[in-house]
């Protein structure tokens, strides 16, 4: 029997990918779309051959067993709490929240309603990352000393450049993936955060450049570049890299370095054509299986989403104070 899933808002561009994943999944059914922009709900429903609901309430009153929330960041809290109250299992786009109190309310709502709340961290499913974790766990480079990560991208524009809707700029958009990978890789919590931000790339009222330094529980330190620093001519959207430095060697992971280089005269540009595994699909697949009753294995919980978003929020607080901040 198919698991019935609805999508609440297509504000975040990842909704398209998740919709494709649901459409191609043998045991999932995309039962409908709701969006605060009714025209977008109609257009996406047509594109994905599903039903457009005229409100979030009506989607939540439908036969959907689960929802994926892809609204603007600041609306995650409200939509997740609505879905939890309606008894739907939830996969929420990252960052989970833009304020700590929102995150706590979301976790409490899911727990109170007895529904799953997961955070959309597909990078956890990357075979390159999982192999890196196996290497580290097998002591391939000795004791872990330091980590160096990047999640650079291009500026998505639109509401991502409005801190009222996004909760910040590049730092809140791109810190959480690698912060989550670091927690998963090490099994350690991030204890201290220092961040520098800048806006020389787009000169707007939001950060387009962000460099975080994190200290983990056992003194392991890490940096993360979450800048929107890829130029318009860059051959792909960005990257996720993570390097581990140990007492006996190093491991360098470049998560999406599985591509062909396409010199495309028709498009007038050079493109990277990715041929690696679709990690969005691997994540949506586990979500569907867990809703159907399987045990969670790799999916990030709401708690994981909260902890990763708390790192980005601490980064902004560190920028305001001009000093490192203990979490």
């Amino acid at each position: 029997m198919s698991i019935k899933v609805g999508i609440m808002s297509f504000a975040h561009l990842h909704a398209d990918s998740y919709a494709h994943c649901l459409k191609s999944h043998p045991n999932a059914e995309l039962v409908g779309i709701a969006d605060h922009d009714p025209a977008r709900a109609q257009a996406k429903a047509q594109q994905f051959e599903t039903k457009a609901f005229d409100s979030y309430e009506s989607l939540l009153a439908s036969e959907a067993q689960a929802v994926i929330v892809c609204s603007e960041n600041v609306h995650h809290a409200r939509l997740v709490q609505m879905a939890a109250a309606a008894g739907k299992h939830i996969l929420c786009e990252k960052p989970l929240m833009t304020r700590l109190e929102d995150g706590r309310a979301m976790l409490a709502a899911a727990q109170g309603a007895g529904v799953y709340l997961f955070t959309a961290f597909p990078c956890r499913f990357s075979p390159a990352f999982q192999q890196m974790k196996r290497m580290l766990d097998a002591d391939a480079i000795g004791e872990l000393l330091a980590l160096r990560g990047t999640n650079r991208g291009s500026n998505p524009g639109g509401w991502f450049n409005d801190p009222e809707l996004a909760g910040g700029g590049a730092m809140i958009d791109h810190t959480v993936h690698v912060a989550d990978l670091i927690r998963l890789l090490t099994g350690l919590e991030i204890e201290e955060v220092y961040a520098e931000t800048g806006n020389n790339m787009f000169h707007g009222a939001f950060d387009d450049t962000a460099m975080l330094t994190m200290t983990l529980q056992n003194g392991v330190f890490a940096t993360l570049d979450s800048s929107w620093s890829r130029p318009k001519t860059f051959p792909t959207w960005g990257d996720v890299t993570l390097a581990a430095v140990g007492t006996r060697g190093i491991i360098e992971m470049d998560m999406f370095a599985q591509y062909l280089v396409h010199y495309d005269d028709r498009a007038g540009r050079i493109k990277q054509v990715f041929w690696g595994d679709n990690i969005d699909y691997l994540m949506v697949d586990e979500f569907v299986r867990v809703v159907a009753g399987a045990e969670r294995q790799t999916l990030a919980t709401g708690e994981d989403g909260y902890k990763a978003a708390a790192v980005a929020l601490a980064g902004y607080e560190s920028v305001r104070r001009g000093e490192p901040l203990r979490l």
Partner: protein, 328 residues
């Protein structure tokens, strides 16, 4: 042709590199060399057919240009008498191990008005020089984010001075001072620094740092320095501006590479990448200084540049040691 007389002090790896460069200059003669290990000086002199000076004073008297290639902690010890004696001086980077050493050198150069150049050779590496020129030309627009990486495995020498923080200053002062100088040269003054490092963890033959710099012009730079990478020496950089981005990776842009099996077919050989050029950066750097001395021009790297790079590196070390943000 009037020959410019050069003396080299410190006859290790860098002394040899510089000797090789001077030998290609028809108007330059290395007339004396000095090392505080007399056996090493003798072996060097025999190999290159140059004379050993019995003391620094003797070398200063015989030469116009003194080239100091000693370990960092001895720079001031040799640079100060050379400047005071009126010789022109090219001094290895970092300018000194301490800010006090650097201040004394700056004061001496000001007082005696001798030509002086800290050997920040990275400025003569064509990839870094071209990148500097492109940034300065405005090709990238306003610079927003910079990433630089430098390093390989821990440098091991007979005297093992790199492993002594009080002598070398570790990976921050010895290695990524190259990148600090390039950044100061290219982006201007730094506002504040924050860094983490393994330098003070007492891990034998491991040193590593991740540094964040905020520049007065708003740019943010991240510098990785490693003496933890058994994969061999490599560098890369990426400069992102509002109109474009430059990237360089020494593992990707490789002009020549050899991989040969050992004689008899036993075992695999190591792959050695090369970037062949008509003149290497050490030659270009020293040729520039010799030209400046001969034509009475100011070298493009000033003693203050050397001071500022050390000052920045020491602020980074202080941040890594204390966990605090250091405002310059």
């Amino acid at each position: 042709m009037a020959m410019t007389r050069v003396g080299i002090v410190g006859l290790g790896t860098m002394g040899r590199q510089h000797m090789d460069a001077y030998r290609q200059m028809p108007d330059v003669e290395v007339v004396a060399v000095y090392d505080h290990h007399p056996e090493r000086a003798q072996a060097f002199a025999q190999e290159y057919g140059v004379r050993v000076a019995q003391s620094l004073d003797e070398l200063l008297q015989q030469t116009e240009i003194v080239d100091i290639c000693t370990p960092t902690y001895r720079h001031a010890e040799y640079a100060l008498p050379a400047v005071e004696a009126g010789n022109s001086v090219v001094c290895g980077k970092p300018l000194g191990r301490t800010l006090e050493d650097c201040e004394r050198i700056v004061e001496a150069v000001k007082e005696h008005r001798t030509p002086f150049m800290p050997a920040h050779v990275l400025r003569f590496f064509p990839e870094y020089r071209t990148a500097h020129q492109l940034v300065k030309s405005g090709a990238l627009g306003a610079v927003a984010a910079v990433r630089m990486r430098r390093g390989g495995d821990f440098p091991r020498t007979k005297s093992d001075w790199y492993a002594d923080f009080n002598k070398s200053g570790g990976v921050i002062l010895d290695l990524i001072i190259h990148d600090f100088d390039w950044l100061l040269w290219t982006l201007g003054a730094v506002e504040r620094v924050y860094a983490k490092a393994l330098t003070f963890r007492n891990l034998p033959y491991l040193d590593y740092t991740l540094v964040t710099l905020k520049f007065k012009n708003g740019a943010v730079a991240h510098i990785e320095g490693t003496w933890c990478d058994p994969g061999g020496f490599k560098v890369n950089f990426e400069i992102c501006g509002d109109s474009g981005m430059l990237e360089y990776d020494s593992t990707r842009q490789v002009a020549l590479q050899i991989a040969a099996r050992a004689e008899g077919g036993a075992g695999g050989g190591v792959q050695v990448p090369e970037s062949p050029a008509v003149q290497n950066p050490y030659y270009l750097e020293l040729r520039h200084f010799v030209d400046c001395v001969q034509r009475r021009l100011d070298p493009e790297i000033t003693v203050e540049d050397g001071y500022n790079a050390v000052r920045l590196a020491l602020a980074v070390i202080e941040s890594a040691q204390t966990g605090r943000v250091i405002t310059l």
